[in-house]
Amino acid sequence: MIRFINVSKEYKNGVKALSNINLNIEKGEFVFLVGPSGAGKSTLIKLILKEENPTDGRIYLNNEDITYVKNRKIPYIRRNVGVVFQDFRLLPNKTVYENVAFAMEIIGAHPKEIRRNVPMVLSMVDLSKKAHNYPHELSGGEHQRVAIARAIVNSPPILIADEPTGNLDPDTAWEIMKVLRDINRRGTTILMATHAKDIVDAMKRRVVEIEKGTIIRDEEKGVYEHEITNS
């Protein structure tokens, strides 16, 4: 699904955010990306979303080489990847329903399909009752559930979440994790950058740890911190 081969990223200001990253994420996996602040987690995500280009190495998405692609093609790559951010990014002047439908409209989906899919994903994130509320009428957790609904409404094979629980209290964070787990069970590959130790520890999924731009640990059913760094 996602494959990094010897990928390095140096920003224009000279910061080496990633060096020599090798990573292979298979279809259906749920992967946590952990590491201290400034380690390069968001940078890695930006490379997948084609927000930044790598300075070295190759990146594959769905077996397609996306290392260097024409600007014109980037939107079509992004349609294969749903994204969720810490700050939700909803449109304040649109209702919950409209915020989700918006993602389908821009790709020219059929109205019938929109009317069918939007209520479906809203029920998946348990927001059917709030469909006609505006974002300012929602709690933080509900905000994030709308953002998740929007990210998956076009059924992308991959969902990427950059600290999706970063702004939420622990209980609400768990609500979100349950939603993400459900989505993953339906076959969507998930890559999630996070600082939430207890979530990572409890979920027992694959953990990739980055520090200073290099992968220092990659283990199945891992925990947030390595035993050595713990002691």
């Binding site: 939107p75 909803l90 449109l91 821009i106 020219g108 109205p111 929007r150």
Partner: protein, 300 residues
């Protein structure tokens, strides 16, 4: 409806929504575009009318008039004719006697022609009219005959022509330069107007990008917004030029400037061009203005 059509209709819908949302700021764009087009209209009318004058003058003045002494001999006249024809720069040579000249003048004066009846003696000279192949030959022809016997005076209008052509060129270059500058100014104004909307909707644009909207999809509504402002400006100025110029033209024809009206472009002939030119420029300014304003926002 196919997917492409739905996308296009979404873009158009968003564009018109934007027009409505920004109607207050749009007024600035519309005003500037209207001003540019009105000035362009005046420049066009000036240039076209001047062109008519130049063409007409060229035709009318491509001759040299040789006024002859009353007591000229036929030998002298033949000599003049021979010298003038020598360089092969003439179309024709016509002799107009003083009586014919007076008759012609009477006709030209029309109702007031009787005033000339009272003249004791015809003050007009015999004239030899040398029709030139090109007005530029005037000077050469004049030089070849000016020292001959029997000539009272030679008149030609090369000077006038030259000045007229020069003057027309000034108007044309100056007018177009002004219009060009104004077009740039209004592209700037409209791009700033739209930049305000773009900035206000930065968040939305950012979200659209993450959901996979193409640049065309994001840019489309803003381009439509600009084009609509441009077209509104074009319609206003087409109407204004149409009514304004018709009014001016009729007033000029009705009053004493009949002679001058002959040179004015007829409003009907003008309007067709004006509609095409104004629509194209209005829409073009609008589209360019919004593209300029979007440029920065579309990277990433």
């Amino acid at each position: 409806m196919s997917m492409r059509l739905r996308i296009a209709s979404n873009i158009i819908k968003q564009g018109f929504k934007g027009v409505w949302r920004n109607k207050a700021m749009g007024l600035a764009s519309i005003t500037s575009i209207t001003a540019v087009l009105l000035i362009l209209g005046i420049v066009l009318i000036l240039i076209l009318s001047l062109n008519n004058i130049v063409l007409d003058t060229r035709e009318r003045f491509d001759e040299v008039q040789v006024f002859l002494e009353d007591e000229i001999t036929s030998a002298q006249m033949e000599e003049i004719e021979k010298k003038a024809k020598a360089s092969n720069k003439l179309v024709s040579v016509t002799f107009k006697s003083k009586d014919e000249a007076l008759e012609e003048m009477k006709e030209g004066w029309g109702d007031e022609g009787y005033l000339l009846e009272g003249l004791e003696e015809n003050p007009l000279p015999h004239t030899l009219i040398l029709k030139l192949k090109d007005i530029e030959y005037a000077e050469d022809v004049v030089k070849s005959i000016e020292n001959l016997e029997g000539i009272e005076e030679i008149q030609y209008n090369y000077d006038i022509m030259e000045k007229l052509v020069l003057f027309t060129n000034y108007i044309r270059t100056g007018g177009l330069a002004i219009v060009l500058i104004l077009i740039l100014v209004s592209i700037f104004i409209i791009s700033n107007t739209i930049k305000l909307t773009v900035t206000a909707r930065k968040r939305e644009i950012n979200i659209m990008k993450y959901v996979g909207a193409t640049n065309g999809y994001i840019r489309g509504p803003f381009v439509i917004e600009g084009v609509v402002f441009g077209l509104i400006g074009a319609i206003i100025s087409i109407l204004a030029v149409n009514y304004g110029y018709n009014y001016f033209f009729n007033a000029a024809s009705d009053k004493l400037y009949v002679l001058f009206t002959v040179y004015l472009v007829p409003p009907k002939a003008l309007m067709q061009d004006i509609v095409i030119i104004f629509t194209a420029i209005g829409a073009g300014i609008g589209a360019l203005g919004s593209l300029v304003s979007m440029k920065r926002f579309l990277n990433v």
